[in-house]
């Protein structure tokens, strides 16, 4: 990890990721496919930003959740599975935040 990048961007990244993940609320609505599409785009951005800052594990997890969101969008899995994956991502964000300077 690059300590300089983490010090500079870490907290902004966490705040931005949480804002993006608010899109997950739509999964419980009447058009979960549309919500999943939006969420997948956000997860894509989260994954990219995390990778560039140096949060590799989080980047990978965001990608996994993105795949889950894509599956919801395609109607292949129920929204509940994506929500469970999201919970893991949120927990990792919380854990990461506690380590930041």
């Amino acid at each position: 990890m690059n300590a300089d990048l983490i010090a500079r961007y870490g907290r902004r990244f966490i705040a931005s990721a949480r804002e993006r993940l608010a899109a997950a609320a739509g999964l419980a609505g009447d058009r979960p496919g549309d919500a999943a599409r939006t969420l997948a785009l956000h997860l894509h951005s989260i994954s990219g930003e995390a990778a560039m800052i140096g949060f590799g594990e989080l980047s990978e997890l965001a990608r996994d959740v993105m795949r889950s969101a894509r599956a919801v969008e395609a109607g292949a899995t129920p929204p509940g599975e994506c929500a469970a994956a999201l919970a893991r991502l949120t927990a990792q964000l919380d854990a990461l935040e506690r380590t930041l300077p």
Binding site: N2, D4, L5, A7, R8, Y9, R11, R12, F13, S16, L41, H44, S45, S47, G48, E49, A51, M52, I53, G54, G56, S59, R63
Partner: protein, 369 residues
């Protein structure tokens, strides 16, 4: 003595960001690797802050990381304290700009400056006399240099309507219109565009905020370093020598994530490139025309379009011939397939990190070490 080693007493604008907020203050001393900065809210010793230094007609904004080495107590009642910091400039060109300014300052100290004209607006006769005396007697200005001194904004407006000045020094608390109102009026007048304006007051942060918000470039809290201010302004009369810089290659980055743009921008600028970053495809088109970048990085999944489709437009309709790379967190296999289908020059996997991104850019531009 080199500019690196000599410390110069220069009062330049310093925007200090500690991660949560930005405060505008000024340098007291500067070298190419060190600064003393006056500030009312001091970051803790050991903290790293970002500092943007600038002064109109002397120094275009340069960014540096500053490691806070020590605090300094205020030297007089009502004055702000300060801190000493080691500077690390984030772009090689920025360090060169500072070195060029230091050389210019040295020339100012040894050369009689001709034709420098300033306007001081302060209702205190003593303050006006101090400026006039210091500027004339303690700096090396030639007989054609002149300081006009007036007591209020109305008199200042009359002089400004008739002539041009190289700098303005404006007190905040004036009879009638305030200094901030005068500064705002000057900034609204195109013929005075870019003239350096130094605001000053005894009223601390409140006056500082009013003057800076009105458009002053620098704010000094009285009691202040009058001689340092005069020598800083004297440097305006020394022509800027061309900075010996190699032509920086331009990299255009298009990505919908502002943070990603900032990360890539900083990494490329630190590597010596000029980064042009945008999340807007219309802006991308304008940058292509006006800046003619040497290489283009395109995010793949953007709300407005896919990067590979954008690449097709660049190649087919805009006749772009410089290297174009896809830049994404997509799986490398998919990214490689998309890059091949779009007939671009390759791809950069975001998961490989910023160092790899810079290495790939260098390689494509034939600059790999």
């Amino acid at each position: 003595m080199t500019a690196e080693k000599r410390t110069h007493r220069l009062l330049l604008r310093a925007e200090v960001t500690d991660g949560t907020s930005t405060t505008v203050s000024h340098t007291l001393e500067l070298s190419a690797s060190y600064a003393r900065i006056q500030l009312d809210k001091l970051p803790p010793v050991g903290a790293r802050v970002e500092v943007v230094l600038s002064f109109p007609r002397l120094l275009e904004p340069v960014r540096a990381e500053a490691n806070v080495a020590a605090h300094e107590a205020a030297t007089a009642p009502g004055a702000f304290g300060g801190f000493r910091a080691a500077l690390t400039f984030r772009a090689a060109g920025d360090r060169q700009k500072v070195e060029a300014l230091l050389s210019r300052s040295e020339s100012a100290a040894s050369t009689r400056a001709a034709g420098l004209r300033g306007l001081v607006v302060d209702d205190s006769l003593i303050v006006r006399e101090i400026f006039s005396y210091t500027f004339r007697r303690r700096t090396r200005v030639g007989p054609a240099s002149k300081i006009d001194v007036v007591a209020d904004a109305e008199q200042a407006a009359e002089l400004l309507a008739r002539g041009q000045y190289d700098f303005l020094i404006v007190d905040q608390l004036l009879p009638g219109k305030s200094g901030a109102e005068l500064v705002a009026a000057v900034r609204a007048e195109p013929r005075h565009a870019g003239v350096p304006i130094v605001g000053m007051s005894v009223a601390g942060a409140e006056a500082r905020d009013a003057l800076l918000a009105a458009g002053a470039d620098l704010y000094l809290n009285k009691p202040m370093e009058v001689l340092d201010l005069c020598t800083t302004l004297q440097t305006l009369a020394v022509p800027a020598a061309p900075v010996a810089t190699r032509t920086r290659k331009k990299i255009l980055i298009v990505d919908d994530s502002p943070m990603m743009l900032e990360l890539a921008h900083d990494a490329l600028e630190s590597a010596g490139y000029q980064s042009l970053a945008t999340s807007d495809l219309g802006e991308m088109g304008r940058l292509l025309e006006s800046e003619q970048p040497d290489l283009i990085l395109l995010d793949v999944q953007m709300p407005e379009a896919y990067g590979d489709d954008v690449a097709n437009v660049l190649r087919g309709l805009r006749n772009v011939t410089v290297p174009v790379l896809l830049f994404s967190i997509l799986d490398e296999k998919e990214l490689a397939d998309r890059a091949k289908a779009a007939q671009v020059d390759g791809y950069i996997y975001k998961g490989a990190g910023l160092t790899e991104m810079v290495r790939r850019v260098k390689a494509l531009l034939g600059e790999e070490t």
